[in-house]
């Protein structure tokens, strides 16, 4: 079956390729950006949840995005927390961001007391080496070690000290870097302060009660339930979500304009062909359909190329930056594709309307 729209795609190769590329980039932009955000949030959330504590106890003003915090509280609070009804164990943790060793914006370091961290559930599984013992011992997880080509007994300089990697951890629990609590406190000149307490309750049913008890006893301090951490993190990352929406809207707008321009120049160039269609007695609907079909075909090819490009980008990024996780979900694949199609359709409406309402004789005599 002859199809003018499809035939014209291959006839006007440069325009077709440029339009397809623009749409593909738009799709890739959305998928990679969303995938990056989702991947990072997911990764952070699952690592915190995998620690196994029930509650994270935070100082006033702190954010549940732990890496953003610069708030400390006195370590003495531990004694009052542990005596709160329903609390089984407490582990004080000092957190610190280092911009070393890769990752988006750096890596978070946990300063922990190994025994106490273990008591709240923080089961650090060693793949090789041993646990923290000496002052300048350091544990890193397998992913960070792989990304930086680190192995046991290698030395890493952070916080103006030379640390020795004594153990490689299974990835996915808490931070990627662990050092002794006191070492981190001293390095930061805050020997009596900590960033947060992980709290383990005596039974899972009590978690809610314990949290409200803690909030009552320590006005202004915050409790974050481990169970809802992922959700709360996503919500507190509102700014990021708005940023994603803005980028998505811009991307959609760009592909709308690309199609609009591509189809508009196309109908100008093909004015005479439209005149011929009119002489043949084509209805307005037929002409609109021809133009819209061409735009939709362009969009579909662009979207499919965009999917390929996105997966290529995903593979490339996770090879080049092993600490970065990109999650491309079926939902976003569908959404990005649908938005691409809709913008392509809308972009072709005005040109197709213009084409359909051309004067037959003028169109036919167009040079």
């Amino acid at each position: 079956m002859a199809n003018l729209a499809i035939a014209n795609l291959s006839k006007r190769k440069t325009r077709t390729l440029v339009s397809i590329l623009a749409i593909a980039i738009e799709i890739t932009l959305i998928l990679v950006l969303v995938g990056l955000t989702k991947g990072t949030l997911n990764d952070v959330a699952s690592r915190i949840q995998n620690i196994g504590a029930d509650i994270i106890f935070l100082p006033p003003g702190a954010s549940s995005i732990l890496s953003l915090n610069n708030y400390f509280m006195h370590i003495n609070l531990k004694d009052s927390i542990i005596t709160t009804e329903g609390v089984k164990a407490v582990s004080p943790v000092m957190t610190w961001m280092t911009n070393k060793l890769g990752g988006i914006g750096g890596n978070i370091i946990f300063g922990i007391d190994r025994k106490e961290f273990n008591n709240v559930g923080g089961n650090l599984e060693l793949l090789s080496g041993k646990h923290l013992q000496g002052k300048y011992d350091m544990l890193v997880d397998r992913r960070l070690a792989a990304a930086n080509n680190l192995s046991l007994n290698d030395q890493v300089e952070v916080l103006n000290h030379r640390f020795t990697i004594v153990g490689i951890l299974k990835a996915g629990v808490g931070a990627r870097i662990y050092i002794p609590l006191t070492t981190l406190q001293n390095a930061l000149n805050e020997p009596n302060r900590v960033s947060l307490f992980f709290v383990k309750c005596q039974s899972p049913e009590q978690v809610g009660e314990v949290a409200s008890r803690l909030e009552k006893s320590f006005p202004g301090y915050q409790t974050q339930l481990s169970e809802t951490y992922a959700q709360d993190l996503t919500e507190s990352a509102r700014g990021i979500n708005q940023f994603i929406s803005a980028i998505t809207i811009i991307a959609i707008l760009v592909s709308f304009l690309v199609i609009l321009l591509a189809m508009y120049t196309t109908i100008i160039e093909r004015t005479r062909e439209i005149g011929i269609l009119k002489a043949l007695g084509a209805t307005k609907a037929y002409i609109v359909k021809t133009i819209v079909t061409e735009a939709i075909a362009l969009s579909i090819i662009g979207i499919l190329c965009g999917y390929l490009l996105s997966f290529a980008a995903q593979t490339w990024i996770s090879n080049a930056y092993p600490l970065i996780t990109i999650i491309i979900t079926p939902f976003w694949i569908m959404l990005a594709g649908t938005l691409g199609l809709v913008s392509g359709f809308l972009g072709s409406l005005y040109p197709s309307y213009r084409a359909a309402t051309l004067d037959p004789v003028e169109a036919l005599n167009y040079e």
């Binding site: 079956m1 003018l4 002489a279 007695g281 004789v361 036919l364």
Partner: protein, 225 residues
């Protein structure tokens, strides 16, 4: 007598700036079924304008056009489009084939438009045989000679079995050998199939192929007076 096209005091005025150009004035015509009529006249005398008016491509400023008794001025754009796809086959000086499509596909498009989307490849083959190009079905316009392109265009005009073929300078871009081929093809269509044809040309010689000759000048018919 079987009148298929009539014009009554047909006129078309173009306004360019402050000047009115009377491209067609007071044309009264009667075309009967099976006629082969030529309209001849010098460049700029209004032949193409008249053809567009008769084919429902343009609206007259004055007067009326009837096709099988239907007043084209009384119907809307989409009804005029329907008249074009069902009753008229246009042939143009510049062939006006779709350059991205081969001969068969060019005819398919015309068939899609004229027959509510249905395409009959057998008929396409027959019509291509009729114009002597049954072996050029898969050639694109640029792979055909000019004369062949015009014969494909004639095939396209014929494909929906039109009441009337309106040909505007169909030999204007052709050398004399190809011109004769096209003119005799039209003649055959008229003779053998009874196809009604109006041929527009500025070439007196070419106009002789028709059975009836109408001469135009300055937008008016000067012969027969």
């Amino acid at each position: 007598m079987n009148k298929i096209l009539q014009t009554e005091n047909l006129g078309k005025v173009y306004r360019v700036g402050k000047i009115d150009i009377h491209a067609v004035r007071g044309v009264n015509l009667n075309i009967e079924k099976g006629e082969f009529v030529s309209i001849v006249g010098p460049s700029g005398c209004g032949k193409s304008t008249l053809l567009h008016l008769m084919g429902g491509m343009a609206k007259p400023t004055t007067g009326r056009v009837f096709i099988e008794g239907i007043n084209l001025a009384k119907i809307n754009d989409s009804e005029r489009a329907k008249i074009r796809r069902e009753k008229i086959g246009f042939v143009f000086q510049r062939f006006n084939l779709f350059s991205a499509l081969n001969s068969q596909q060019n005819l398919e498009i015309a068939m899609q438009i004229g027959c509510n989307g249905s395409v009959d490849h057998q008929r396409i083959k027959e019509i291509m045989r009729l114009v002597g190009l049954e072996n050029k079905l898969y050639h694109k316009p640029l792979e055909l000679s000019m004369g062949e392109q015009q014969r494909v265009a004639i095939a396209r005009a014929l494909i929906n079995n039109p009441l009337l073929i309106l040909a505007d300078e169909p030999t204007g871009n052709l050398d004399s050998a190809n011109s004769y081929k096209v003119l005799y093809l039209l003649k055959d269509l008229n003779r053998n199939l009874g196809q009604t044809i109006i041929l527009i040309t500025h070439n007196q010689e070419a106009s002789k192929i028709a059975d009836r000759k109408i001469e135009m000048k300055d937008g008016m018919i000067i012969f027969p007076s």
